[in-house]
Symmetry: C2
Subunit: 215 residues, 2 copies
């Protein structure tokens, strides 16, 4: 009876197909016809279930993106282990692990970050939803975890910049997958993803002021 089981319901299928298409092409490049065809239902279904196209888009974030982001954060938490204070190394690794391997399929992960990047560029209504609901709290939690372990005298702002930089990498290696493959010549196999996790961890780590621990 979980959400995935409802895939036979028209409304759920619409959300699934809409998310895929919006992620692939962007809001304006996708027509309602395209979505309803993919979902094997009638053109009018979008307006019946969601009122209009824009609302369907927002509902994709509410009903799909945000819950997935929560799962991602759960995965991060679990990967860190229940322990109290985490080392910067553990935080960096858990972050890279959750976002690059984590609890979802390759296709789902790609979709997730494509949508995010599309929103990050401009300030739309969907970003508002996401920003206060899941991004900010997560950032704050990360900052609270990292701050005590960082070199003393490091202001909150610098900690924030460190966190943003980790996100920048995680985001980039997910959404710019095509360019990364083109440049490195490597497909996103299990092995390469493991290597990316390794790389991001190390790259982040020394940036966190614990370079001495490295060797």
């Amino acid at each position: 009876m979980s959400k995935a089981d409802n895939h036979d319901l028209t409304k759920e299928r619409l959300l699934d197909e809409a998310e895929t298409l919006f992620a692939q092409k962007g809001y304006d490049a996708v027509s309602v016809r395209e979505i309803t065809n993919a979902a094997r239902c009638n053109l009018a279904a979008v307006n019946y279930h969601f009122g209009n196209k824009k609302n369907l888009y927002l509902e994709v974030f509410r009903a799909r993106w945000i819950p997935r982001s929560r799962r991602l954060q759960e995965s991060f938490k679990k990967s860190l282990g229940g322990a109290g204070a985490a080392s910067p190394r553990a935080v960096a690794r858990a972050l890279a692990e959750a976002f690059l391997v984590g609890p979802m399929s390759d296709e789902e992960r790609f979709r997730h970050h494509q949508l995010m990047v599309r929103e990050l560029g401009q300030s739309t209504e969907a970003l508002e939803l996401v920003a206060d609901d899941v991004m900010r709290p997560f950032m704050k939690r990360l900052a609270d975890m990292l701050h005590p372990a960082m070199p003393e005298g490091l202001g909150k702002e610098r900690v924030l910049l460190h966190i943003l930089s980790m996100f920048a990498m995680v985001l980039y290696f997910n959404f710019a997958r095509g360019a990364v493959t083109r440049i490195t010549g490597r497909e996103y196999t299990k092995a390469f993803k493991a290597r990316l996790v390794e790389h991001i961890t190390e790259f982040s780590l020394t940036g966190l002021g614990v370079g001495e621990d490295l060797h």
Copy 2:
């Protein structure tokens, strides 16, 4: 007689306005009418000068984006100084400086990276243009500069990942400006940009395996 002087020519105005609008909203969200209105010329001008909308888009990359990218790389080179072998620190700083302060206005820099990110997400014709023409050669030059200075035994691939990570940050702090401001509470003033350059340099640096030089 430079290109900027030609802004009174319809064709040049079209390229300028098209680039701004495409960067702001994405290809599909912008209509030819919108572009010709902004350029204060007739609807038919796009088809007269460029054949069709898609071609105008590609021409924006050929005639605006790529030359600007070249100027950016020149700025990077100049910022490094003519010296032969550059230290990783010098490279990281010059890169951050060129991309975050560099030779262009804030608005132009934003436009430039917005367009890039829109293209990085999917594999379009415009990306083909850019990838082989300016991205790959620049990456290669960076790799050649950095490789000898990195810890021995560090493979070419890892050097590439380091470079990609620097690009990830530079890209992120440019195109996700809205989100960064939202999270840090800081506008992109001269002071904040200087801080970002500092941050990216340090963050990149220790990731480049020279953490010992830091303090």
